[in-house]
């Protein structure tokens, strides 16, 4: 590594899905790229890198955030939950099961963001009506047009697990 670049590196600790990760990063690395390039957690997706699509949604200290608009170093000490921490193949979260049941995706690229956003919304507990739920998830685009199935999946999980 060249000298000048080295100077710009910062020690950053992130607690990702319960695991403490110590990273040395330049300040300009987004949380999204830190997850994808430095921790090989590619479940979090990049759909725009500009805060316009929701694909990069993760849960940071209990709140939904767009990881593409967040610098990793600014989250030093934070707890991050990504799709990999929501559930596993062996033991999927009810939201993950409901997404499969309702075929709430086609290509699957927006899916981790949709699920993290839905999880954040359910835990925030504010959106109650169908319209509020749709509004609250509208920052997550789906170009495949799985919208109706996504909303069905989320409302079912809300009714069964969050009421």
């Amino acid at each position: 590594m060249k000298q000048t670049e080295k100077k710009l590196q910062y020690q950053t600790t992130l607690i990702v899905n319960g695991k403490t990760e110590k990273l040395t990063l330049p300040a300009w690395v987004s949380l999204l790229d830190a997850l994808r390039h430095h921790l090989d957690l590619t479940g979090t997706k990049k759909g725009c890198d500009h805060g316009q699509c929701g694909a990069c949604t993760v849960i940071c200290d209990g709140k939904r955030i767009l990881s593409c608009l967040t610098l990793a170093v600014a989250k030093d000490g934070s707890e991050i939950k990504t799709i990999e921490g929501v559930g596993s193949k062996e033991n999927p979260h009810p939201l993950q099961r409901a997404f499969i049941e309702h075929d709430a995706f086609q290509c699957g690229y927006c899916t981790p963001g949709q699920i993290c956003s839905a999880l954040g919304m359910l835990e925030e507990g504010e959106a109650q009506t169908l319209e509020e739920i749709k509004d609250s998830l509208s920052g997550n685009l789906c170009r495949c047009g799985a919208n109706a199935n996504i909303i069905d999946a989320v409302t079912e999980v809300k009714a069964n697990h969050y009421e």
Binding site: G43, G47, G108
Partner: protein, 747 residues
């Protein structure tokens, strides 16, 4: 041969579901390869002209920058167009990235900066100093309609035929018609915008060998392109695309991130990844802006007698991209006097590329608006009007349909929707301060037949494996192919292994045009059939085989065994075959080649009918699609669960086309001004309400081995016109431009 009843037709969750919901599905930019370099592309900032200088000094001085590639220092490249051709190349001369200093369109890729981190590459790319000499350009279709000319013919026009010749006497019939409609239509440029941006990861395996993870709709297409352009042998280039984050046509041709990524990997002998950013997703193909004219005439009995449909679309200056825009109306409605015209205007843009329901979704807006308008004029219910003009036979080609259950689509769709509740008069239905409208539209999409290959394998361990290079960008092909293969051997989908998305597997056409299920599915079925014959032959030869004298129709396959058709206690375990075998697997590869002579005798198409309710707020100019039903006749539905999602997706695209999406062009700068997901509007969850899908039963023994017509486009073609017609019913105003803007609706 008889089978246990079957995996085909079962509503199954997609086989990649767990990977997709847990984030373990890996897309092209997500392969963790060692010592990876990141490339970032620099795009031209002028629309037309020449690069006079590229100053790389600043860029090369940035720590971490490994190289800068451009036309100045690129490795030598072939000159002949044919080397750059691909399975979807229209007639003309394909764009050659970094070939010379000429700029043909705005944001053309001109250089690649390679660095040891993504951030450094991106930063450095912004520091490249480029000097240009600019030239005059034109990107305004409507200003250049006088330049319209016929499209050149080529391979593309075989699959996407040009309009049929005029029939009867349009002018006379139109003049004598009891009711006429004359309308001018337009839609702007649209971009595919799959959620995953185009990306390629090239693994340099040494000695000219490459493994490439590419975002593509055709692994073979990318493989052939890379091999030809870079002079590599096919066997040294392996392209993999097991997961593709949507494409909708954007991956039909090898895109320039593939080209530059491979170029850098070969040049540097390193592993390289190049991802496009969202803005760059607007620089390599789009649905072309198109203007249309429709003049339809009907007699007093409500029969359409005259049909003029003309479309003029843009193309690039270097390739003639064409679509089937004006052919559909006369296949649906048997007017005897027709004038169907399709022309192109070359402009200084990149070549358009098929985008979900190319041509059909454009043309049907005009056809179905004209039909709707005539119905209102003649005071006939719009659905009844379409029934009066129901084509029992395709008069445009004078052929029978291979199958057509559109009437059932109308009936079941109307019933489910409650079409009978509609009050005939425009502006007659209200909900609070909003006007309510009901609209409907027919839909049609052709069934394309192409050759494809597949391999079927049975292993000593008792495993069935079927392989094809085919992709799955979310349509569900992986699941559907596995179902088709499983059915052939009487096993469950879970017991069948289908391998796909790999150029090493048998050749598949690029995935598109709704033909994948029928085309690749038929190859899968054909390969399985040959394997069954092979296995049966070997079973007969076993010592004491109960089938020594049996014919094929006296047995069937189930659960890894061959059974006697009339006696379940008589069977052979398929793994016993290996007692006599040296190999530990039996493998066959088979091509399925459609019979053009048989197919040519029929018009082959999927049909749909969409019924839509809208609410229009004339104070705000807003439209809400409150509910919609689409009834589809697409032959055999292999997996009703994933097929339903395809139709729902098409309906959302219809909402988007009618009400949301468009790429706006600044004609002065030749530039798209909204190349991002904030200003390129897509429907969000809050825009989507009650959507319903019906699959009408339809048998078709002509089109392909499976009787499957495909469902990728048909959900879209009828939806957008039905929305426009519903808005007319709500407001009394015809919507002839897509997308519809607020200002088109406010009082």
């Amino acid at each position: 041969m008889k089978n246990k009843n079957g995996e085909i037709g079962k509503a199954k969750s997609r086989l990649t579901a767990l990977e997709k919901v847990t984030g373990s599905a890996k897309y092209a930019a997500e392969y963790n390869v060692p010592d990876l370099l990141y490339g970032y592309i620099v795009n031209s900032s002028v629309t037309k002209g020449k690069i006079t200088a590229l100053d790389e000094t600043a860029v090369r001085g940035i720590p971490g920058v490994v190289d800068v590639l451009s036309h100045n220092n690129r490795p030598s490249l072939p000159w002949f167009d044919v080397m750059y051709s691909d399975m979807d190349a229209p007639p003309g001369s394909p764009f050659k990235p970094f070939y010379d200093n000429e700029i043909k369109y705005d944001r053309q890729p001109i250089a690649l900066v390679v660095a040891d981190s993504f951030e450094t590459a991106r930063y450095a790319a912004a520091q490249l100093k480029v000097t240009y000499e600019t030239e005059d350009f034109d990107v305004d279709l409507r200003k250049n309609l006088d330049d319209a000319r016929d499209p050149s013919k080529g391979l593309a026009t075989l699959i996407k035929p040009l309009p049929p010749s005029p029939k009867g006497d349009f002018a006379k019939a139109y003049g004598e018609a009891a009711a006429t409609y004359d309308g001018d239509f337009r839609h702007g440029t649209e971009h595919h915008n799959p959620m995953e941006m185009h990306a390629t990861t090239t693994v340099y395996e040494g000695e000219g060998k490459l493994t490439i993870y590419d975002k593509t709709q055709g692994t073979n297409n990318s493989q052939i392109y890379v091999s030809n352009v870079f002079g590599l042998s096919y066997s040294d280039v392996r392209v993999l695309a097991p997961y593709v984050g949507g494409s909708f046509g954007s991956g039909l041709r090898p895109q320039y991130q593939l080209f530059v990524c491979v170029m850098a990997a070969l040049h540097l002998k390193r592993n390289v990844r190049v991802s496009l950013d969202r803005k760059q997703m607007y620089t390599f193909g789009h649905r072309p802006q198109t203007v249309m004219k429709a003049r339809f005439g009907a007699d007093a009995a409500g029969k359409v007698t005259a049909m003029h449909h003309k479309a003029v679309a843009e193309t690039s200056r270097f390739e003639d991209y064409n679509e089937v825009v004006v052919n559909w109306g006369n296949i649906l409605y048997p007017a005897q006097n027709t004038l169907l015209e399709y022309q192109l205007v070359p402009l200084d843009t990149y070549t358009p590329i098929d985008m979900r329901a190319p041509g059909g979704s454009t043309g049907m807006h005009a056809v179905e608006t004209a039909m709707d308008a005539l119905a209102y004029d003649l005071k006939i219910d719009p659905l009844e009007f379409r029934l009066r003009n129901y084509a029992e036979r395709d008069v445009s080609e004078d052929k029978p349909f291979s199958s057509k259950e559109l009437r059932e689509c109308y009936r079941q769709g109307a019933e489910k929707f409650g079409w009978a509740e509609r009050k005939p008069e425009p502006r007659s239905m209200k909900r609070g301060n909003r006007l309510v409208g009901y609209g409907m539209s027919s839909g049609i999409w052709d069934v394309i037949a192409l050759p494809a290959r597949a391999e079927a394998i049975f292993t000593k361990a008792g495993k069935f494996i079927v392989k094809s290079a085919v992709n799955d960008s979310g349509q569900g092909s992986y699941t559907v192919m596995t179902q088709i293969a499983a059915e052939q051997f009487g096993i469950s989908t879970e017991e069948m292994t289908f391998e796909y998305g790999d150029s090493e597997h048998p050749l598949s056409p690029i995935q598109g045009g709704s033909y994948t299920t029928g085309v690749v599915g038929s190859a899968v079925k054909a390969a399985c059939k040959v394997l069954k014959e092979e296995l049966f032959k070997k079973a007969k030869r076993l010592k004491n085989s109960p089938f020594a004298d049996s014919e094929e129709d006296a047995i069937y396959f189930r659960d890894g065994k061959i059974y006697a058709a009339d006696d379940d206690t008589v069977f052979v375990n398929l793994t016993d075959i290996f007692q006599n075998e040296k190999e530990d697997k039996i493998s066959v590869t088979k091509s399925n080649v459609p019979n053009p002579l048989k197919l040519k005798q029929y018009t082959r198409a999927a049909h749909s009918a969409a019924f839509v309710e809208v609410e229009v707020d004339e104070q705000l100019g807003t439209v809400n699609v409150t509910r919609a039903v689409t009834a589809v006749a697409a032959g055999n539905i292999i997996n009703p669960k994933t097929a339903r999602s395809q139709i729902l997706g098409g309906m959302v695209w219809g909402i988007s086309k009618a009400l949301r999406e468009e790429t706006l062009t600044d004609f002065k700068t030749g530039r798209y001004v909204n190349p991002n997901l904030a200003e390129y509007h897509l429907p969000v969850h809050a825009d989507i309400h009650d959507l319903d899908v019906i699959f009408v039963e339809e048998k078709d023994e002509i089109i392909n081995e499976l009787g499957a017509k495909g469902v990728g486009e048909i959900g879209l073609v009828s939806m957008a016109p039905a929305i426009a017609n519903a808005i007319f019913h709500a407001t009394g105003r015809r919507m002839t431009e897509f997308p519809i803007h607020f200002e088109d609706l406010v009082l």
